[in-house]
């Protein structure tokens, strides 16, 4: 036992934390850096696909068939076995000065489990635990000697065994992949069991030549060296990276192997291994489809490396088109960005379409994240990082550039964005790429810094952008010249400027590590994103379309902020909940060998990062509304979420609702929004493109529709249209009830009325005892039914009123000016009365005939409520009814618009001041009802009378241009009329019983609003329709029960008879 522990300590002493790559170090220390979880670091370290997670790790010694030994760590993930050495420890390990420290681990492998043919346990001395691994390419046998506690070793082996088994199915893919690799062909000479194979596709260069002079590039000798290396150390998927590997890359890859080594070092090879048909499938799936990206790609196809002959041919253009299109379909968030065409064109010279497709994905996802995104935040961020590195490493030059007002990024941005491809001559750009794919993004920075360092002296003389640019342009053109043309030393003279550049980049700037870049990116990220966002906001607000002009700039800014805040916060929240759910699930099913997979929450939540989803579904919309309108907040947070009415809406939180174990509310810390039919209607109305989602523009236009209305008529029309489902200008019975529901819903928390409004409604006794709005709404319903048109006659009547209206108009105009006189006010109404009466009489009779035996006669008394008689109100009627009531009028004039609070002032924030008013009105509803009813009585009579007059007016004109006149007529309606009240009462008394009957029978179940009411029986002779509703209204006790209990719906309003 003693010897074992000593061995462990010896092994761990060999693992010098200073030599470990920083990313690994974090992993060891378990530190989380900038949201880079150990899993992320693990994946980026070994270039693994995103599906891989570190499952087990063990210190071990690797012995290669070639005789080298390396100490390091062996990692296991779902489908990979990876090794990275901690230090070059082998006796034969050549001193790799250039690739030490900052470079990748000197030895390592990333072995897909499927490429392992067999694993044997070696029976050596008892305290040693060793495995012999035979890989796909038979000639290779690796020995792995574990340096850990026996139980740990056993555990590791168990997990390995399990994962090996599960990977068996991938064997077919492996064969396909290996067959397409040039290295395979190179080593086997194209001969296999199936006979001689064709040379695999190694890019357009095979046909149109590779750039550069083969002799100068020493391509043949490079190829020989590579063939030797591949024979000894495995190839493609089984390749082991020894120090020589890095050196071979540093001197430049041979043309035909270049593509494959790029794939291998970047890790895109593994994407191809596991998704062998993704590329072709994508092309098939989207063939013939169009998108903005496709258009943009087409524009640039002829202008991508146009000087390369391959891209003057249909073949080359075709390849480029297919790769770019396939990627734009696969990743629509990025789509297509100029510069991608140049990069892909360059890749295609050395690799097949499929290879280029996967390498492009790896580039965009991992190597240069955010470079090509919609906002290009990655590009801008790396420019900031580069600037700060220049400032740090070359302070004098930096100071000079600042003084001369030369903006560095104007030259460096294209370097990064197109990976030097259109800055340097191609041959050299490819050399940079060789190292870039091996060592990652830091290479771009190192090379960029080296360029400035080498040209430092000259740049210090430069005084403007132009000179700065041309100085560097000249430098790039002379990269193949000698760096020291006047040197006496022949060897020194042979060093080209490019070689010098590489040496400076990787030796002098070896201190720039992956970690440096990560740290710097984190440091500058926020300011870069903010500036992108302020730019984006400015631009977006300017382009919101004509509707937006109706809102103030402040309001627009507020909507913009609020929209994205809700959008991103909610996305994040849902992702977190999803993750939590997954965790819980995994805990349940977790088996011994498998740790909880670490799915990082995708970074979202910033406009600067580019679009994820820019649409709000109904639930987002609710959350949005709840933030701007207090009526959109649920009265009491529900425990159980009812499934959304929309059906197609976010299934995610429907699922969460059922899982109560999650303590995360889908609304986060915000108040839970209400869910009311009215909000549905708003959502649908705003969703102009029928996408089941609202864009910012939709929301702005929607809000402009409410808040931007300058005119009460528009506002009334807006509301009416919300309920006119089929757009035929009519709202039916159901719609009327829903409108009243909505009115009560919106005002249920109280709303601001100027003190004088509603006074009349309260009358002498009201004294703030009751909510004037409730009275108004009950009056509204009554009047709606009163003035509704039966569906059948609707058209005829419209025509007839149209004609007759002409004669009466003159009459009315006179009357309007004479509203002191109660009788004359009435007269036009009476004129109108009989005519309408006839229609309704007919209706009434027919319904009597039908129902005479089965239903009490009360039914026929109230035609309006008889479901057998469909009816509707038209916009003019609706207007008339609204304008007849001061409270409603005020509501549509300003109240509705004001109920949505945007930027303006703090005092009006939702849930703020108004709440208390609302609450008090609310609390009094129960008790204050009776007192209120009495006071209402007389007032309502007059309102109805005058309302009718207004109705006629509206009906006759049917013309919005006449609004002014209508409004002039309104003031007359508040006159007391005692006589009328008396009449009404007497009729009322006599009909009490009938009304009771009606109360019992006419309860519309389908409507959530229950209205128990009745109208006096119309004998066909006595009371005119004009008289009867008035009377019933007069005695209708507006006994209200406005309940908004546990569930936000339904709001229940009951109208009961008094006495």
């Amino acid at each position: 036992m003693l010897s074992l522990s000593s061995l462990i300590s010896k092994a761990s002493s060999l693992i010098d934390p200073n030599i470990l790559p920083p990313s690994l170090l974090n992993q060891v220390n378990g530190t989380n850096n900038d949201g880079q979880t150990p899993a992320v670091l693990f994946r980026s370290n070994f270039r693994l696909p995103d599906s891989e997670n570190p499952l087990a790790v063990i210190p071990c010694e690797l012995s290669l068939p070639t005789g080298e030994h390396y100490f390091g760590r062996l990692h296991l993930s779902e489908s990979f076995l990876c090794f990275s050495s901690s230090a070059p420890s082998s006796a034969t390990g050549t001193n790799s000065s250039s690739s030490s420290a900052a470079g990748p681990p000197s030895c390592g492998f990333t072995l897909p489990l499927v490429a392992i043919r067999r694993v044997e346990r070696l029976h050596s001395r008892s305290y040693l635990f060793a495995l012999a691994v035979t890989t796909w390419h038979n000639d290779q046998k690796l020995t792995l000697q574990f340096n850990s506690l026996r139980s740990t070793c056993e555990k590791f082996c168990e997990a390995l065994k399990k994962n090996l088994r599960s990977q068996m199915s991938e064997m077919k893919n492996l064969r396909m992949l290996v067959g397409s690799c040039y290295s395979e062909w190179l080593v086997t000479g194209g001969k296999s069991k199936d006979g001689v194979k064709e040379e695999p596709d190694a890019g357009l260069g095979m046909v149109w030549r590779y750039p550069g002079d083969l002799k100068k590039l020493r391509d043949r000798s490079k190829m020989r060296l590579w063939a030797e290396y591949l024979r000894e150390n495995g190839r493609n998927i089984t390749l082991i990276r020894q120090p020589t590997f890095h050196k071979l890359i540093r001197v430049g890859l041979p043309n035909r192997l270049r593509g494959e080594i790029w794939e291998l070092t970047s890790g895109s090879l593994y994407g191809r291994l596991f998704n062998p048909t993704l590329y072709t499938d994508t092309l098939t799936e989207f063939s013939g489809r169009h998108s903005l990206s496709i258009d943009e790609i087409e524009k640039d196809l002829n202008r991508s490396l146009p000087e390369y002959p391959g891209f003057q041919s249909e073949e080359g253009i075709g390849r480029l088109r297919r790769v770019l299109s396939a990627y734009s379909w696969r990743n629509p968030d990025i789509g297509y960005c100029q510069a991608m065409n140049i990069v892909v064109a360059a890749l295609l010279i050395y690799m097949s379409e499929t290879q280029a497709f996967f390498l492009l994905s790896t580039l965009c996802d991992r190597l240069v994240p955010g470079y090509y995104s919609q906002t290009m935040y990655g590009t801008l961020l790396d420019q900031r990082v580069f600037e700060s590195l220049v400032e740090k490493t070359m302070p004098i030059l930096w100071e000079h550039l600042v003084k001369a007002d030369v903006q560095l990024s104007v030259v460096s941005l294209p370097w990064f964005l197109s990976l030097f491809i259109n800055s340097m001559p191609l041959v050299f750009a490819f050399r940079v790429l060789d190292v870039f794919f091996l060592e990652g993004p830091k290479v771009l920075f190192q090379v960029g810094l080296a360029i400035l360092r080498i040209n430092g002296e000259e740049l210090l003389d430069v005084t403007d952008d132009g000179a700065f640019i041309s100085c560097l342009k000249n430098y790039f053109l002379r990269l193949d010249e000698s760096a020291h043309p006047r040197s006496d030393n022949e060897k020194l003279r042979a060093v080209t400027r490019f070689q010098e550049l590489m040496v400076v980049a990787f030796r002098e700037f070896s201190g720039i590590t992956e970690q440096t870049i990560t740290d710097q990116r984190t440091r500058h990220k926020d300011s870069v994103l903010s500036s992108i966002e302020s730019f984006a906001k400015r631009t977006t607000l300017r382009n919101l379309g004509p509707e937006s002009k109706r809102l103030s700039t402040n309001d627009l800014g507020y909507i913009y902020d609020r929209f994205y805040k809700v959008l991103y916060e909610r996305q994040e929240r849902l992702a977190a909940i999803e993750l939590e759910k997954e965790r819980l699930n995994e805990k349940k099913v977790m088996s011994s060998g498998r740790s909880i997979s670490e799915k990082s929450i995708n970074e979202k939540g910033r406009i600067g990062l580019g679009p994820s989803s820019q649409l709000m579904d109904y639930d987002y919309f609710r959350e949005f509304l709840a933030g701007v309108a207090k009526w959109a907040i649920a009265d009491s947070p529900s425990q159980l979420f009812s499934p959304s009415l929309g059906g197609s809406l976010d299934p995610q939180w429907g699922g969460n609702a059922r899982k109560k174990s999650i303590n995360l509310s889908p609304w986060g810390d915000n108040a839970e929004p209400a869910d009311h039919e009215f909000m549905h209607r708003l959502f649908r109305r705003w969703d102009t493109d029928y996408r089941s989602g609202l864009s910012l523009q939709d929301v702005v236009a929607g809000l402009a529709g409410i808040k931007g209305k300058k005119d009460i008529m528009e506002s009334i029309s807006y509301f009416f249209e919300l309920y006119d489902d089929d757009g035929d200008g009519r709202v039916d019975r159901e719609g009327i009830l829903r409108i009243s529901e909505a009115l009560l819903f919106i005002t249920r928390r109280g709303w601001e009325t100027p003190s004088h409004i509603g006074e009349q409604n309260r009358g002498g006794e009201g004294k703030g005892g009751t909510d004037p709005f409730l009275g108004s709404v009950s009056g509204f319903i009554r009047r709606c039914f009163e003035y509704a048109d039966p569906d059948q006659q609707g058209k005829q009547e419209e025509v007839s009123t149209g004609v007759e209206g002409m004669d009466e108009l003159v009459d009315l105009l006179d009357l309007a000016s004479d509203d002191e006189d109660g009788e004359s006010v009435k007269s036009p109404v009476k004129e109108k009365g009989p005519m309408k009466d006839k229609d309704e009489e007919l209706e009434g009779k027919s319904s009597l005939d039908l129902d005479a035996n089965t239903k009490p006669s009360a039914m026929s008394a109230n035609i309006a409520l008889d479901p057998a008689n469909p009816l509707h109100i038209t916009l003019p009627t609706f207007r008339m009814i609204v304008l007849a009531d001061e409270v409603l009028e005020y509501f549509f004039e300003t109240g509705f618009a004001d109920s949505i609070v945007l930027s303006t002032d703090g005092s009006k924030t939702p849930g703020g001041r108004n709440m208390s008013i609302g609450a008090s009105a609310f609390g009094n509803l129960g008790g204050g009802g009776i007192a209120g009813a009495k006071g209402l009585r007389g007032v309502l009579d007059n309102i109805v009378n005058d309302g009718m007059r207004v109705a006629q007016e509206v009906r006759r004109r049917m013309d919005e241009a006449q609004k002014e006149l209508e409004r002039n007529a309104v003031p007359g309606k508040y006159k007391e009329d005692e006589e009328d009240e008396g009449d009404a009462k007497s009729i009322m008394e006599g009909d009490r019983d009938l009304l009771k009957g009606a109360e019992a029978s006419v309860v519309d179940d389908t409507a959530k609003l229950a209205i128990k009411t009745g109208l006096p029986d119309d004998d066909g002779a006595s009371g005119t329709l004009l008289g009867s509703p008035t009377s019933s209204l007069a005695t209708t006790h507006v006994g209200e029960e406005l309940r908004t209990p546990t569930t936000p719906m339904p709001t229940r309003v009951e109208f009961e008879m008094d006495k």
Binding site: D405, V410, D464
Partner: protein
């Protein structure tokens, strides 16, 4: 400073406009009197200079040719910073490109140096049927009969024009922009655009440069830096802090 035989001043000019409307081609025509069919798209921006000789002075244009693709828009402020003049280019044969141009005009008017001289340029005149007819007669500003043609017979053979002269012209007048229709391919009107801009730059902006809006116009380059470097320093620091985005 302006005492020399013919004073020479530098003017920073930026080109903006939708992708593939011919911004780079216009510059290439102006600078090298050349035209290339398939030019690589501009990545980030390109920088070129060219002199423009006026009767009483010489203007040296420092031209910033920007990338047109929508997503590069956030880089634009980096390039139009301190610009004294701008060419906002659209494609006569593509309706959407004028909308984009209007957007750029609005952006410049609000964000760029005050007093910036903006020229609205409709390019690819060679693709319309006016490519030959009106040569020479167009000072760029008097196209009333051409406008008539465009209005009435847009569908005429060989005419890919989608934006009438009248439409663009009235917009340019409204916003106080110089207006030209050009062809980078034939070279039609290209020189005129730059000359008009050179003429429109008020002499005062060339001489007095204290504010951050000033370029390095005027006499010797060394003078410029001695004079305005100190002033600019703080401004540059500011701009850099904000990153290149805005």
């Amino acid at each position: 400073m302006a005492e020399g035989p013919k004073p020479s001043s530098s003017v920073k000019l930026v080109l903006l406009g939708e992708a593939a409307v011919g911004k780079s081609s216009l510059v290439l025509r102006f600078v090298n009197d050349d035209f290339q069919e398939n030019r690589e798209p501009t990545i980030g921006a390109a920088f070129l200079t060219q002199k423009c000789s006026l009767p009483n002075r010489t203007i040296k244009f420092e031209i910033w040719d920007t990338a047109g693709q929508e997503r590069f828009a956030s880089l634009a402020p980096m390039y139009y910073r301190n610009a004294q003049s701008a060419l906002v280019v659209y494609d006569l044969t593509k309706a959407s490109s004028l909308a984009k141009a209007k957007h750029w005009v609005a952006e410049l008017q609000r964000q760029a140096s005050p007093g910036i001289v903006i020229a609205l340029v409709g390019n690819k005149l060679d693709l319309t049927n006016q490519s030959t007819g009106l040569e020479g007669s167009m000072g760029g500003l008097s196209l009333s009969n051409a406008a008539g043609d465009g209005d009435d017979d847009e569908e005429e053979e060989g005419d890919a024009r989608q934006i009438t002269t009248a439409e663009a012209k009235s917009y340019a007048d409204e916003e106080g922009l110089l207006f030209f229709e050009t062809s980078a391919k034939t070279g039609h009107n290209v020189q005129e655009v730059f000359t008009a801009i050179a003429n429109a730059i008020p002499e005062s902006t060339l001489k007095t440069r204290g504010g951050p809006g000033s370029g390095r116009a005027g006499g010797g380059a060394t003078d410029t830096f001695g004079g305005s470097g100190g002033v600019n320093l703080s401004a540059v620091g500011e701009t850099n802090k904000d990153g290149c985005a805005c």
